[in-house]
């Protein structure tokens, strides 16, 4: 037992980040589930991270309120961004969220109170592991429930065929926006937790590279169900930590695995657990979509 606790203690940071990454992967999963690509969730996490950190650091706001405020801020920012873009064709979301991510990064670097390039330091380390994993549990359960509800079905329909979905009475834009904003909320919550987990935050942590990383977790793990993103996050966070000497090649590894998955196993690794269904979807020509 002592050995176990010692082991856990040494790896505490990694375990914490596995949980945070899983939440971020789920946040991206929501939008991917509706068939759209967003590269903005790292920025949403960043907005919430800075907002909540500044609240606890400079204004002494209690931790839970700061967390909630950060997440809410991310969601509020996501709303007009999404509303602008979801009336357009899919490719515009990818571009707009990428651009948005850069805007946030530039903004952080420009606004003095964020500590600019140096980042924020001395953030009260309020986040415990159980905060992270309880949040993850709640988020995962919520996403799972949504997926099998009529909302999730509407999302799946939108992903398959937007036009046919609209024909059934589904307000496509509204549903896409809902997934996007909910994703921003979750990413924001994770961002707030992250800020208080590691004492300090820097703008680079929430930039394009991070957005891509989260995307890789979700895609590699798999989109069809909630396990996918979690699995992807666990695997791709734990593996590099274990394979320390290969750190340098992490990006290459992620890139290769991303291409391999998209080309050969588009439903992600999690679907290795349901090969028969995947085979059926393949014959039907819906393996990318469903």
């Amino acid at each position: 037992m002592d050995d176990l606790l010692q082991f856990l203690g040494a790896y505490q940071t990694t375990i914490g980040f596995i949980g945070l990454n899983a939440m971020l992967a789920l946040s991206v999963w929501l939008t991917l589930y509706t068939g759209q690509l967003t590269l903005g969730n790292a920025a949403f996490a960043g907005i919430a991270a800075y907002a909540s950190a500044l609240l606890t650091l400079k204004a002494g706001v209690p931790f839970p309120i700061a967390l909630a405020s950060g997440a809410l801020l991310a969601a509020i920012v996501a709303l007009p961004l999404g509303a602008t873009v979801f009336r357009l064709r899919g490719v515009y979301l990818a571009i707009a969220t990428l651009a948005f991510g850069e805007v946030v990064r530039v903004a952080i670097l420009a606004i003095p109170i964020t500590g600019r390039g140096q980042g924020l330091v001395g953030i009260p380390p309020k986040t415990e592991l159980w905060h992270i994993f309880l949040s993850l549990l709640v988020v995962a359960l919520a996403c799972a429930r949504l997926r099998v509800s009529s909302v999730g079905r509407a999302w799946a329909a939108i992903r398959e065929d937007e036009l046919a979905a609209a024909s059934q009475g589904i307000r496509v834009r509204r549903y896409q926006l809902a997934a996007f904003v909910l994703g921003a909320l979750i990413a924001g919550w994770a961002g707030g937790l992250a800020a208080h987990f590691d004492f300090a935050i820097q703008p680079d942590e929430f930039g394009f590279a991070r957005a891509v990383q989260i995307l890789v977790f979700a895609v590699v793990g798999g989109i069809p169900n909630v396990f996918g993103p979690i699995l992807g996050a666990v695997l791709l966070t734990a593996l590099p930590a274990v394979l320390q000497p290969l750190q340098e090649y992490r990006d290459i590894f992620q890139g290769v695995i991303l291409v391999l998955v998209i080309v050969y196993l588009p439903r992600g690794l999690a679907t290795l657990l349901e090969l028969r269904r995947t085979a059926r979807l393949r014959t039907v020509g819906a393996e990318d979509v469903a």
Binding site: R153, E160, S167, Q168, G169, R280, A286
Partner: protein, 235 residues
């Protein structure tokens, strides 16, 4: 009148696909829409179902002006349709497709099941929509449309790929639905089906309505014969 279309026009670049078409369709009527390929039939129903926005004219549904409304808005007002090229959610199951059909009715499982039952697809509820045989896919599309208990059901070539037994069953279904008060617009090349199921028929050619009347009247119409003469219809 359930549906009143007045002077409806749609242009694509220089081509006038639908040219000032008028239609009056009464509630509970089965209304056939025929014409050579490219006559504008699908474009017309795309306008009625909200897929396209008209360039001119108006559409009234149950006395309310619905011109320019989106597809989902019209679906909520009771318009449901099938597509010429079958737009099922292939990766979702038959049951899920039906549930989505019932979306405007709260995704009621009861309605979904009833619709599947009616089209003889209950046994295949768990099959992926894309796994079904072609004829079954057509029937699933109809079931999906029915699951919303629509006021106006638009069917775009529902019998394509069906054998005579299946199309006879479809004809009976259409008659039964009409008796229940569902209004149906039917685009079909299967002459027997259209003439057998419809109360009234309109004929389009080059975007214009060239004839309208009972099936017998339309079949006897000289202009209609001329429009079809030489046209290599895939019947």
């Amino acid at each position: 009148m359930l549906l009143e279309v007045t002077g409806l026009t749609k242009r694509f670049g220089g081509i006038v696909a639908v040219n000032a078409v008028d239609l009056r369709i009464a509630e509970g009527q089965v209304f056939g829409l025929i014409g050579p390929n490219g006559a504008g039939k699908t474009t017309l129903i795309n306008l009625v179902s909200g897929h396209f926005r008209a360039d001119g004219g108006s559409i009234r549904l149950a006395n309310a002006d619905v011109t320019g409304l989106r597809m989902d808005q019209l679906a909520r007002r009771g318009i449901a349709r099938t597509f010429q090229s079958i737009r099922l959610f292939k990766g979702l199951t038959v049951m899920e497709n039906a549930l989505l059909g019932a979306f405007v009715r709260g995704s009621s499982p009861a309605l979904a099941r009833a619709a599947l039952e009616r089209l003889g697809l209950s046994k295949r509820a768990d099959a992926l929509a894309g796994e079904l045989a072609y004829g079954d896919q057509r029937r699933l599309e109809i079931a999906r449309a029915l699951a919303s208990q629509p006021r106006l059901l638009i069917l775009d070539e529902p019998a394509a790929g069906m054998n005579p037994t299946e199309s006879a069953a479809l004809r009976d279904l259409l008659r039964a639905l009409a008796a229940e008060g569902v209004t149906i617009i039917l685009i079909e090349h299967d002459v027997r089906l259209v003439m057998g199921a419809s109360e009234r028929v309109a004929v389009l050619n080059f975007g214009r309505k060239i004839a309208e009347g009972t099936p017998a009247e339309v079949q006897a119409d000289a202009a209609v014969r001329e429009a079809y003469l030489g046209a290599d219809d895939d019947g």
